[in-house]
Subunit: 353 residues, 2 copies
């Protein structure tokens, strides 16, 4: 592969001059510039980013460590992150932790070894030593979606509290009183917060959230299935299962189906994190939708701000409830939720007779 030396030789100038034209430095004679450009063209020369990074001490690369690529929520997040980063002149390297702290650590380490300019992370756990070190050592960092309390790092996330309240209001209005939740790992903020928000919203209606109605999941489908089976085995099973993410909702659906039961007739189901397929599941699933694309973009802007020496503001965006049919029929033919600006068909429109 041609190097800058080859280009210099071909153009009859020094490597310094080649470097200057490549970097748009103003003090280069028009003649030199054209000769260099011609040489670049002739040799198909492309600057070696590795060498450039070593010299300039910046890689123009962002690391993104997500908890699970197979979760459409994170996939969409990753896509918007890459998009915004590209717009700002950065590349992004994604590390998938698969909800495993050890894998998360592996990726953080690898990314740091590559000297990425900044790190975006949605922590799988309470924070590995490596990540905490990085934060303390001053690596520009921003948390997205999930975060670690007590660490001085901006966090870009969405607040589902209001949406969860809307959901509970919706469920209560439908006559449901025994509501259960499949929680995410207690080590994650989203794992804890969604349970807290749910409990709080239930409290407003004088409803309890007994321990038996809190199933411990891990944000993966398998746990959703197991927890739901446990709920169904209870002497008094819940009337509603609220899954704290879409994959656990998938597992819940599997469990209900395996018993030959039906949603919402036998048990209602709702999920955190909306996905396109929820419109077409049987029945369409009521879900809380995050402004995923906005989160990804805001996170990148905050991180780039930090990289450039800024403070990197934290951002919290609201989530919203999207009512469909998985919790039962609405009382009126119109959407009872004033918080649903969804352009999707009215929830009472049935896709099955």
């Amino acid at each position: 592969m041609a190097s800058i030396k080859d280009v210099a030789a071909e153009a009859g100038v020094s490597v310094a001059t080649v470097s200057r034209v490549l970097n748009g430095h103003p003090s280069v004679s028009p003649d030199a510039r054209t000769r260099v450009l011609a040489a670049v063209e002739a040799l198909g020369y492309r600057p070696n980013a590795v060498a450039r990074s070593l010299r300039t001490a910046q890689t123009r690369t962002l690391g993104l460590v997500i908890s699970d690529v197979l979760n459409p929520y994170f996939t969409e997040l990753a896509r918007s992150v890459e998009e915004e980063a590209r717009a700002l002149g950065y590349s992004v390297i994604i590390g998938n932790a698969d909800e495993r702290p050890d894998l998360q650590d592996h990726h953080v380490t690898t990314l740091l070894d590559r000297r990425i300019d900044g790190l975006l992370v949605s922590p799988t756990d309470g924070g590995s030593p490596r990540m905490l070190d990085a934060a303390r050592a001053g690596t520009p960092m921003v948390f997205v979606d999930r975060w670690i309390p007590g660490v001085d790092v901006p966090v870009v996330r969405s607040d589902g509290r209001a949406a969860v309240r809307d959901l509970v209001a919706h469920l209560h209005g439908l006559g449901h009183r025994r509501l259960a939740i499949i929680a995410g790992p207690a080590a994650t903020t989203t794992g804890r917060e969604r349970v807290d928000a749910f409990r709080e919203a239930l409290g407003a209606y004088g409803l309890p959230l007994p321990d038996a109605y809190i199933g411990q999941g891990d944000f993966q489908a398998g746990s959703g299935r197991r927890v739901t089976e446990g709920f169904l085995d209870l002497p008094e099973p819940p009337e509603v299962v609220f899954a704290a993410d879409n994959l656990m909702a998938l597992g819940a659906l599997d469990a209900v189906r395996a018993r030959g039961m039906r949603v919402p007739d036998d048990i209602a189901l709702a999920a955190f994190d909306d996905i396109r397929w929820f419109v077409h599941t049987d029945p369409p699933i009521t879900a809380i939708a995050q402004p995923t694309g906005d989160l990804g973009r805001a996170a990148v802007r905050a991180l780039v701000d930090r990289i450039e020496g800024g403070a990197g503001e934290s951002v919290t965006l609201p989530a919203r409830l999207v009512v469909r049919r998985s919790c039962g029929e609405a009382a009126s033919p119109h959407d009872p939720s004033p918080h649903d600006p969804s352009p999707s068909p009215s929830p009472v429109r049935r896709s099955t007779p």
Copy 2:
């Protein structure tokens, strides 16, 4: 951040010795080794991968350019690629082309500039000049899923021919005679092959595939919707729509639903590329499943083989038909397809009454 010099000073040895112990070189005295290790520990030293790459001319990194991260098929492919690469000591950088040739080019260029050791690509189009150049220039490369004819690069893919034949047999057995397809871009091999396989399979039953029944899609949901609307507007609409990927099937579902029609009663639907949600859609969707994980792993092995000077064998794995209910009820209570080793519930088991 501590450099190798700092470690050498701390340990009281030369940087050469530090480098040797870091790289497991045998000729280092036990004493020097322990001192170096202690210094590394004390300083929290981590080798700079950028510098190492510049010096060794290898990055231990693979590039993966996929057509669309939002497509679960590619997400799963990416995951298995990363997994196998990690097992072999490589990192992978993913570039998402979003089915756009210009974006694909951007990522190929960026990846090459970073001097990745090898490139795995599922081309969005007939092959950009940059990619063709890279292949010709000897960059170790392997095509996954989609490929470009006439380029001397191994391809790891799955052959859906037999599964498509099974699908057509299934449809024919159900009494369907007017079968349509939503094709992928003609510039992609999978876009062309799936139509060819479909036409061929129809031919075996003496069924035609008229132009009006070939809709041109782009592997995105929107095109699936538009094409399906076109089909439904035909004086003689098809009885079956076969979507060449899962996202276009989603669009088709949207279109059918928007008309207040039902699958399979009003029109049957089948898709290429199975996803977990297809079990829970209304109705469960009959699909052709690729051995995605195996493809990803085989592709990495082929690429690493190339990188290490091997030939990098091409691999073709069979896809299989998974019958569900979206094409109508099977005649017997048992799965009529002998090609479906799926552990999923029997296709005639109804999840809705």
